[in-house]
Symmetry: C2
Subunit: 229 residues, 2 copies
């Protein structure tokens, strides 16, 4: 009745730890125990214990009191999980009518259960997209990520015209709100006004002006748009 690959068979927990550490070390610099604990909603000692086990397994490099970083193998596993997560999110939005604010939890559970086969079939049926519904790049099956250099809208000067390429809002409510405002990946907007002292930012969109807090604008990653014509 049961017949799971089992060869590698990393547990859900292990996969979550590796993914979290990957998230926390964008450049490869070590991640702190407390950061991991906070991200995974666990106690610091639990994380300490798991770090020890994963180091012994060769998935992490641990300098006590100095933080952890992924080994090549750990990074491979983490990227595999990220690919899974983003392919699943894309599939749910693309084929099953989910909205982009509702896919995270589902993907969080499914990413541990799907086979590589299924992920590849999902990706293929979507035309092997390069980014997920939030604009986050989907690593290839070989583990390559195409990171686009982008700037938070919050840091752009007045007058700039940009395309939103990525939306990093954590929670569903924000995502829903941003979608209502038309602020999704692909949208072309320009910064119309910025109030001082971290005051609200006004952006012009094809559908009208929107006023955003700085925190909200920090979630919108943009690339400068070439002026056409």
């Amino acid at each position: 009745m049961n017949a799971v690959p089992a060869a590698d068979s990393l547990t859900r927990s292990v996969e979550d730890y590796l993914k979290a550490i990957y998230r926390l070390s964008p450049g490869g610099e070590p991640a702190a125990t407390s950061e991991i604990a906070h991200l995974l909603d666990l106690s610091a000692p639990s994380v300490s214990g798991m770090i020890k086990r994963l180091s012994e397994q060769g998935l992490l490099e641990h300098a006590p009191y100095r933080g952890v970083s992924l080994t090549a193998e750990g990074r491979r596993v983490a990227l595999r999980m990220v690919r899974r997560h983003r392919v699943i999110e894309s599939y749910l939005v693309g084929w099953l009518g989910y909205s982009w604010d509702a896919v995270h939890d589902e993907a969080e559970r499914l990413e541990h259960a799907v086979s590589d086969e299924l992920i590849e079939r999902m990706a293929a049926s979507l035309g092997n997209p390069g980014v997920d519904p939030h604009g986050d790049p989907i690593p290839t099956a070989e583990g390559d990520v195409a990171e686009v250099v982008s700037t938070p809208l919050a840091e752009l000067p007045v007058g700039t015209t940009v395309a939103i390429v990525r939306v990093h809002a954590a929670d569903a409510e924000r995502l829903r709100y941003l979608a209502e405002l038309g602020l999704k990946p692909g949208a072309v907007v320009s910064v119309a006004d910025r109030r001082p002292f971290r005051g609200p930012i006004t952006v012009s969109t094809p559908a009208g002006d929107r006023v955003l807090s700085v925190e909200m604008a920090a979630d919108l990653l943009c690339v400068r748009q070439e002026e056409s014509a």
Copy 2:
């Protein structure tokens, strides 16, 4: 990062036990510890221990040394898992190009990870089918199962014309072989010959005659076909 329903939160193991017990008590009569152990590939003491826990949780009725049966609540959970399993199998075949012999393991893992929401969306996108690719009935979200009364092809007399409604082969190889022979749910066949002493059975199909062992024929569940014209 994690936000799973959690309210009910039965573990994978528990879900597997309940599903196994459901499978073993088609009529509600108790299932034996050893049968459960065999089906789940566990030791008998492990099963005994779990039975105790699940009885305390009100999911099982346990008469020591006499076997276990599901409570109403246990049955509800089991049927939910069966629905999940069969909807997933149907979806993989219907939309992701899987063949019917390749879906079992995938469904076995996914059934524990999907949300009710996703199952309903999958079912809807298939037009809420009543049976899965093997012809097994899919319980409704409310927990009703429409069992069709069927007879194993192995028990039919020569001359009978039947429609195959359900194929119970356990392993992928057999399923692949049967598919090659055109012996799938929906196929209309008639029993052309039966050799004595559990000898081979010959069935006529639109695509030609097929010779099957009794064991193979026992996997093909059929309903008598009304003679038309």
